[in-house]
């Protein structure tokens, strides 16, 4: 899938093409694996919060307030891979 393909999908309001691309990206070309990877990341995001430990909300809110949407979106992709790596189940062949 090319960038233009994704831009056209975004312009046409075709979320299925966009999320399919994300799944393929996270699943190294395997859409079903990508779907599981997304679930895995959310599970890993939930676990550390179950005991309600103190978190640095000032950092979070300051980051969201001061950074541009593209940087935050990029951070979101980084956090996905950080969380799946933290899970200990690494499906990817290579290194981050």
């Amino acid at each position: 899938m090319s960038l233009q393909y994704l831009k056209d999908a975004a312009a046409a309001g075709d979320p299925e093409k966009l999320i399919r691309y994300v799944r393929l990206h996270f699943g190294d070309g395997n859409e079903e694996a990508g779907r599981r990877e997304i679930d895995k990341a959310w599970i890993e995001a939930l676990k550390p919060l179950l005991d309600v430990p103190p978190t640095d909300r000032e950092f979070i809110l300051e980051t969201i307030r001061t950074r541009d949407p593209a940087t935050l979106a990029h951070l979101f992709f980084h956090l996905h891979f950080y969380l799946v790596q933290r899970s200990g189940e690494w499906i990817h062949d290579g290194n981050l």
């Binding site: 899938m1 393909y5 062949d93 290194n95």
Partner: protein, 172 residues
């Protein structure tokens, strides 16, 4: 690529060996929309191989330790390249690349980035020597136009400045 003649007495044209290649890519990867009718003909060798300085260009994601890691998480890819000194030792380099198995390369970098083998070819006089730097990037780039317009052009310009005579380009 093969050489063909247009029958007009001019220099032979170089034809693509697999003219249907992009059709195949587009069929297997719907939406990739690669459309490339033109191609760059192979440049003829201007001096003996044993006198040529070689530059190695690789999509392996190999880079000097401490340099900014290739962006392996960006959904559209990373269009930057790294210079890797050809005098580097393997333990001075690391791999940032998600899309191919790196286990063997982490044991012996030469399987993907043949530093030692190329130095041996230079020492044996098979090639004239190595360019000061090799060039690497990652192959996960979803915008072919940007890839050609920026990354390929940037590397070509850098390689030209190196004074390399020949380039060995290897996908990972």
């Amino acid at each position: 690529m093969t050489e063909t003649s247009d029958g007009g007495g001019g220099p032979p044209r170089v034809a693509q060996l697999r003219p249907g290649l992009w059709d195949t890519v587009n069929e297997r990867y719907p939406g990739s929309m690669i459309d490339k009718a033109d191609f760059v003909p192979l440049a003829p060798l201007r001096k003996p191989l044993s006198e040529c300085r070689l530059v190695f260009i690789s999509t392996s994601g190999v880079q000097p330790k401490g340099s900014m890691p290739f962006d392996t998480v960006h959904p559209v890819g990373d269009y930057s390249f790294r210079r890797v000194p050809s005098a580097s030792r393997p333990d001075e380099l690391e791999i940032h690349q998600l899309k191919y198995p790196t286990a063997s390369a982490n044991r012996d970098l030469n399987v993907i980035f043949p530093l030692d083998r190329l130095r041996e070819l230079a020492d044996e006089g098979v090639i004239g020597g190595l360019a000061e730097n090799f060039y690497t990037f990652i192959g996960y780039n979803m915008d072919p136009e940007r890839l050609e317009r920026t990354l390929a052009e940037d590397i070509a310009a850098a390689v030209s400045e190196e004074g390399a005579d020949i380039a060995l380009a290897a996908p990972a």
